[in-house]
Symmetry: C2
Subunit: 331 residues, 2 copies
């Protein structure tokens, strides 16, 4: 039921995913049964979904009458709407009825509900949102991108561990290079938390490549080579993420006014589109909870579901737990 | 002597400025006399500078034998190189021999030297760097963009006052709209310093339009209308500034690979070029100290000099002092 274009975009995304995933994968659609069923019936008449028209048994509808609005306060929504698709969907996973959860709904509520229902790995105060940034080279994982502000040095180190697991499991990167976002490459540059985190990261058992700067993010690399993971607090990460989302449309508008063809631009800049990269895993919860953009298209939902499948198949959650455990002695 | 392309770019920039400024304006070139003189002689033979060939009396060369390198530590450079162009040039202003100072050299050293030589207005701990960001609408002043990390709520309020004066005097904006960078428009969104600053800004005697987000910066506006000034700590401002500087080249590369004409793009995106916007005033020092990008072209130096002239003509420094004084009772 979540997201600006729900339930159409979410249901259509699930159908697209069924088309692409192996036939042993099934999807539970959680929400108001009547709304979902009529949406599903309508979509299945469309030509695009013909390949899965005879596979309705791969879909089940799970009733969840409450709807959390985008404007609801997260904690109040979690307490006051226990039968929302958010809570019901996550409980299915906690009860072993599903392996992963994807939502395009209220991000704050998804985080709060995930913490309550799935709970956190030991040693964490809050989960982190890991977002993929398109770059000149390979996409870079940036975390935290909005869940945590005022982070301690220890928390930044935990983000580094979480991001390394994401890069290994979801992106298939070997021994990923982890950079710390700062305002100069020298260890003494940055705010107090970043300077202390820099020191801690040098013995955190990950491949720490030192400080990186804002300019290194679009480049996907710094002077010391390609970057796989960038660690920052959720305030900085969120500002840069939202900045990134609106800079490409601005540049495309300027070029459009100069006569550059919109279709050529749209195609060339397709990799900048968040929907190509699927959802952002909420890292640190015991389980898989994937946050999709509120404006998710069916394609974005499909990609988020595929990220969920990949997280399950690579046993990302188990690796997260182990990696955080390694840190208990070290930090 | 400062900047990646000195002394050619700085001297050529001074000559460009002479061509454009009224003939009552004069420029002091501060640095190693022999180096500057031979550079000047060479440039004056070029056709571009023919209009000022007969106006050498508008230029004077002031000897400053020491050179601060880009890699020098700011405080050590200020103490150890008292005869650098940075110190000598700023002292000319402190002694009433000049009205404004422009440099493309070591930014940290310029800040340290400006604090020592010009000193700060009462109530400030450090000056702020105010940078212009090109947007879909008019350029937006972002401060601080790198001088201050770990800012207190009071410091963020001071940035708002400084930015408002900049917008009024340099940009000619009436009653400028000041936004506070955060991760959501609601007053309760943000880190601890931002949340407290939000409250203080509501009675700071400026037109505070509330929190703005990363996405509002390229747009030059938020839901409540156009933005003139964005306030943030220097860590966030510097990350976003450097991010901005490298995102346009990345997008142009993608489009170039798709066959879009480089010249059309360069022309259409000319407003994204920092050199069009001149230097960034160091706000809060008693006087005018303009920071130019290390990679400044002659055109960027010329624009920085014009910002300096404008700051002097509008009596920006006096307005900064008065505006900060207003805040002493309020905050």
């Amino acid at each position: 039921m979540g997201g600006d274009f729900a339930p159409r975009a979410t249901v259509a995304g699930a159908l697209l995913a069924l088309c692409e995933l192996d036939s042993n994968h099934t999807i539970q659609l959680v929400g108001q049964t009547t709304v979902i069923r009529s949406q599903l019936d309508a979509l299945l008449t469309e030509r695009e979904f013909a390949p899965v028209r005879a596979q309705r048994e791969r879909l089940s509808i799970i009733e969840a009458p409450d709807v959390i609005e985008m404007t609801d306060k997260p904690s109040a929504a979690v307490r006051g709407k226990p039968n929302s698709s958010m809570i019901v969907g996550l409980k299915l996973q906690a009860d072993g009825e599903s392996d992963a959860f994807v939502s395009a709904g209220n991000t704050g509520a998804q985080m709060a509900a995930s913490m309550v229902v799935l709970r956190l790995h030991a040693g964490l105060k809050r989960p982190a949102i890991a977002t993929l940034f398109p770059t000149s080279l390979k996409p870079v994982v940036v975390l935290d991108s909005g869940a945590n502000v005022d982070c301690s040095p220890d928390e930044l180190v935990q983000f580094a561990r979480l991001g390394a697991v994401y890069a290994e499991d979801i992106l298939g990167r070997d021994n990923p290079a982890v950079g710390l976002m700062s305002i100069g490459e020298e260890p003494e540059k940055g705010n107090a938390a970043v300077k202390e985190a820099h020191q801690l990261l040098q013995s955190a058992g990950i491949r720490f490549i030192g400080n990186v700067e804002g300019r290194d993010l679009p480049n996907g690399a710094c002077d010391r080579g390609p970057i796989d993971v960038v660690v920052c607090d959720g305030f900085v990460g969120n500002v840069v993420l939202k900045f990134y989302e609106s800079i490409a449309p601005f540049i495309m508008r300027l070029l459009g006014e100069a006569g550059v063809d919109q279709q050529i631009m749209a195609k060339a800049l397709r990799q900048l589109d968040y929907s190509e990269h699927g959802g952002a895993p909420l890292l640190g919860v015991k389980g898989i909870s994937i946050i999709s953009h509120g404006k998710s298209s069916p394609r974005a939902i499909m990609n988020a579901l595929k990220v969920g499948v990949r997280a399950v198949e690579t046993r990302m959650d188990e690796h997260v737990g182990r990696r955080l455990q390694e840190g208990v002695g070290a930090v």
